[in-house]
Amino acid sequence: MEKSEPREAHLLIEGVSKTFGLRGGGTTHALSPIDAAVGQGRFVSIVGPSGCGKSTLLNIVAGLVKPSTGAVSVDGEPVRGPRRSIGVVFQEDSTLPWRTVIDNVRLGLEVERMRKAAQISRAREMIDLVGLTGFEHAYPRELSGGMRQRVAIARTLALDPSVLLMDEPFGALDPQTRLMIGVELLQMWQSTNKTVLFVTHDIQEALLLSQEVWVMSYRPATIRERLPVPFEYPRGPELLSTDEYQHLSARIWSVLQKESQRAFDEREHLLSSR
């Protein structure tokens, strides 16, 4: 799974680091150089303590943020800005409240000079895929948080990206909804064969969804561990009580715990030195 398998690498992250200038001088080293590769159609989760730079890494892969060093490439093509082969789903509700579901899903298609009828049929397909059939003409405010997030997913999938980046997409949802929508995401992933990079801080979610989990350290963030998740899909609740699951979960948790402690100490130190 390292750089030594370039033929399989669909998404390649090479020496990517990020340093932010602080207001009033000084810098924060958010990411130390990171190297990683993801094969076509893989589902990878990234877990890490809050504020560690998971989102920064994702935004760099998306082309929304420029890395300080290094480069990202998809199928050997460098990513220099947002591109249509990379789709992003944000944590916050990103639906436009003044547009209906179908118009929200259509938003990205309007960029291509696609015929309106074609846009609509494509949008309908996507709405179907995320299970919102019947809600095409509803406005976001009439939908639950989970449904709005599906709209955002449909909007992203409508462009048929080969890489799907998800930044804690279900973070704002309640645990039950989160579980259900996770199962649906897996079905969509399996039927579309996209490469997924999924940021979360929920170990269980990471282990239930992905084929591989990257555990990140606190700043400057590196990938501390890359753990293959060997379980077969579909993954039911019985998985949670197996020894293998428990073992993996405990291992991730111990790394996370250490890194979170560092993060906590550093922040407390900052506060007390003020």
Partner: protein, 258 residues
């Protein structure tokens, strides 16, 4: 937003009618009971039956004056909204310009723009143009300030969506930024409408020879007190219609905004 605006609309309509009824009833009681001087506050019947024809200088009718003022107010409102929108977008795109002008725009409240009217009279002539100019400028200031706020305070997440979907700037403006700023722009336009009315009627008091403001002034100076009140009522009614219509337009336009 949507429900709030519709509620505000109904509340406004009901309140205006309630106020009108209260004022007329109070007026009637006060005048009929002899509590007030009927030379200053004539009886309701005399106001309603008052003559609306101004004897001099032009034989304009009530409707003529109403039409003139309506045209001036609407012209000022439309031009003011366009000018204000343009300025607001400019300030958003070039914050340096916006920040440099901001104190002066705020102080606009402190400088009755009408003090410039003599210059405008010489510049534009004694006709409708100086009035429309004042009305436009007064209307444009709140529109500009609110447009600026609307664009500046876009939701971060909506900006990200535009970037992530790789929308070209013009499409982003039309599909995301403009709709996002629209509620603020409409707020500015509603404030602007009142200023457009103030500018028009104030200028008509001073410089015009037609329009409702002129008619009120004329009747005041010729001691036609009942007629003065009739024209005044027409002025207030026109203001109510303009302000309420704009509120209705914003409520309908923004009905899907969250």
């Amino acid at each position: 937003m949507q429900r709030e605006l519709f509620r505000a609309l109904w509340s406004q309509v009901l309140t205006f009618f309630a106020l009108a009824v209260l004022i007329v009833a109070g007026w009637w009681l006060a005048t009929e009971s002899g509590l007030v001087d009927t030379r200053t506050f004539p009886e309701v019947g005399r106001i309603i039956g008052a003559q609306t024809q101004l004897s001099d200088p032009a034989p304009a009718t009530f409707l003529d004056h109403l039409a003139v003022t309506t045209v001036r107010v609407l012209a000022g409102l439309v031009a003011g909204c366009l000018l204000g929108f343009g300025l607001g977008v400019l300030f958003w795109r070039l914050p340096v310009v916006g920040r440099a002008l901001e104190p002066y725009l705020l102080a606009f409240y402190a400088v009755p723009l009408v003090v410039f009217y003599p210059f405008l009279l010489v510049l534009l002539g004694i006709n409708s143009w100086p009035i429309i100019a004042i009305s436009t400028v007064m209307c444009s200031v709140p529109v500009a300030l609110n447009t600026w706020i609307g664009f500046r305070e876009q939701k971060e997440i909506h900006k990200m969506v535009g970037l992530a979907l790789q929308m070209p700037p013009l499409l982003r403006f039309r599909r995301i930024e403009l709709p996002g700023a629209l509620p603020e722009i409409f707020t500015g336009a509603r404030v602007g409408a009142v200023y457009s009315l103030v500018g028009t009627i104030g200028m008509e008091f001073m410089v015009s020879s037609e329009g409702l403001g002129y008619a009120v002034r004329y009747q005041y100076e010729t001691f036609n007190v009942p007629s003065m009140y009739l024209f005044l009522a027409a002025t207030l009614a026109l203001s109510f219609v303009v302000v309420t219509a704009l509120l209705a337009v914003s409520a309908v336009s923004l009905r899907h905004h969250g």
